[in-house]
Amino acid sequence: MSTTTPTGPPVASTPARAGGRLGRNTQRLNEIGLIGAIVVLFVVLAATAPGFLTVTNQLAILRDAATVGVVAWAMTLVIVAGEIDISIGPAVAFSSVLLAKASGEWQVPFALAVLLCLAVGLLLGAGAGFLRARWGIPSFVATLGLWSGLRGLAQYMTDGLPVPLEPNGFLDVLAGSIAGIPTPAIIMAVLFGVFLFVANRTAYGRSVFAVGGNAEAARLAGISVARIRVILFATTGLLAAVSGLLLAARLGSGNGGASVGLEFDVIAAVVIGGTSLAGGKGSLLGTLLGVAFITFIGNGLVLLGVNAFFQDVVRGVIIVGAVLINVLLSHRKGAP
């Protein structure tokens, strides 16, 4: 084997695989394992769950995936940066309520109401990010505040009852399909492309990895760690608001009690995808697979007619199992 001599030329001749990035290699392994698991899951469900393979059900799966996926991309970056956002479920519900209230009772023009929802989501997220960045309040606590506050506010504003939405063309499109594909799935796919690009190809994305990998070093190198943190949470806030619009369109109402526990599906998808809660490493491709995995399980359990309460038990076991396998795999092959 050749080693580089200090003054020698770059080792372009080193076989690309051999010199591979350690982080990426274990990541790959993860992803291959996950793809395997998803294929097995798919085959098992196809064989045992009645109606699993029908087009209607597959489209329903896509739609469900979007519920988790739209936010999961942003959550991946948050977790890569070593942070966490647990306010997703309430933020989504709140946004749907805000849309219904604003466009109905408050008589705000519909387009403005939509913008209002997005802006409020962004600002709330940025607020949590600011608490983290400026005052060092742990992001778990800052977003716990939102989690509690937004759920309460949404229920309070609606007395716990759904607020009907006046149907309109925009909502129909959001709830419907474009060229046969559910609109939320299309939005999810587009956002995936955007985030994939942002994470790997932009200065911001790489700075996120640097902050997660070693915040002190990133700061000394001149990266504005605080700015990055604010943007991260503003992004999850914004995408939770987008999810809220999709939810409102789907239900035809603003619903303060909706999306309970969504934050944990999102976090689970990210973690199953191999992103480390300790920060510094992770991939959107992994999260994509994590989202697929979670959605298949949810769908399969319903089709198999498992008791609704017991579904949660099964899900809990499977999620922990999947992460355990991930961790074991990366320890075996992995890091020093």
């Binding site: 770059p10 051999a18 010199g19 990035r21 200065a203 790489r206 002190e216 190198a221």
Partner: protein
Amino acid sequence: MSNTDVVAEVRAGTKRYPGVTALSDVDFTVRRGEVRALLGKNGAGKSTLIKVLSGAEHLDSGEAFVRGRPLAGLGTRDVAGLGVATVYQELSLVPDMTVAENLFLGAWPRSRGAIDLRRMRAEAREAMARIGVHLDVDSPVDSLGSAGQQLVEIARAVGQRPALLILDEPTSSLAAAEVRQVIDAVRHVAEQGVAVIYVSHRMDEIRQVADTATVVRDGRIVETLPVGTASTQEIVTMMLGTAPDALAPRARRPSAERPVLSARGLVSEKLHGLDLDVRPGEILGIAGVLGSGRTEALRALVGLDRPDAGEIRLRGEAVRPGAFAAMLRRGLGITPENRRRQGIVPLLGVDENIVISDLRRVSRSGVLDRRAVRRAAQTLIDRLAIKTARPGTPIGTLSGGNQQKAVLARWLHAGSDVLLLDEPTRGVDVEAKRQIYHQMRELADDGRAVVFVSSEVEELADICDRIVVLRGGRAVAELSGDEIELNRVLALAIAEE
């Protein structure tokens, strides 16, 4: 000597990492009471050999033994149980715990199930005294600075009463006085029959501490020889594989230009009225003992800490103290003394770790230009001769000295005008040191200002145009041009009062 004396042994050991062979067919033995130095360039494989002997890594082929037990399949805990105590190159303390707690990490003395604080503190004091150090055992190690932390690590290892004591660059962050303490402590334990493996890049220190030296080059053992009989020149030649170039003649030219950065009356916890002028076109050395305020001075100058009082001027204008981001934008750069905690982002590639200091330079409207990143990184990798399998290799897997060079490369990439370098040659081999000196000299010739903090007075005396000696947080002496002489600097740096 009989075979029962052999404490640790490696036979035909080979260890590969992706893209490099860190050890290749290595045979190595060390005996009771022997202090063995390991010498070699950055990335030669010294730390890898050590990790194999401490159970942190396992050989791909060949065998390793400690006191006759094969290490295959054993973890670090098992190997520690065999009597191996290791101080790794990178510090491994829990920053928020006290010195005493760290000394007994995981093995705290207990009575009736609870930690026996009184006994722990007493034993901690004793362990520190054994290596001749007197630190407050109740202070959090975080507050100690690198040198203090290093001493705690050494005390911890020595305190385990090992059969084999392994020290990977234990003195790289220490100044002369503390180095003396470490050397004495090592000699002391060796006399009691402990085998010691000692890695260092400082030849003078090797001569004082070691009986024999093993020279490693590109993962192979070149030779093992008694330290007393070989000349430094010979040993360095073995390490490099070629005769070293003579050190470039120093052009001692203290700059007469107006200071680009100046401080007046800085006061903070560790600074007590510091005045300092940094001029373009010169290398300004900062000397002083542990706790004299060298790191604090740099941190205050660059705006990382906000002093309680005093004034800082950049290009004649008063700047708001503590405005770190603004100082970077205005052309300052700093390399921190603690590489692992403050310098590198371990999982990112060498390339990204270099360009991180100025991403704008390699991107267009926020989007990174991969080719520009590669080009910028490759240029600096070549210029500083950073040994890495590929530019994208995670920097955490590089040898310590090479990581250090990459951190320096970061500020060359940013094109900073004023570079504050805190122990930039820490853990760097002879050849690499010269490369770094050379870079510093080029920067100064180019009209930039270089501030060079080092615990090695020898290197300050060798390359600086001007040297300021700090003591108790103040500048107490200044030497410039031909006044700079090793003995004078040494005397000033270690003088008490």
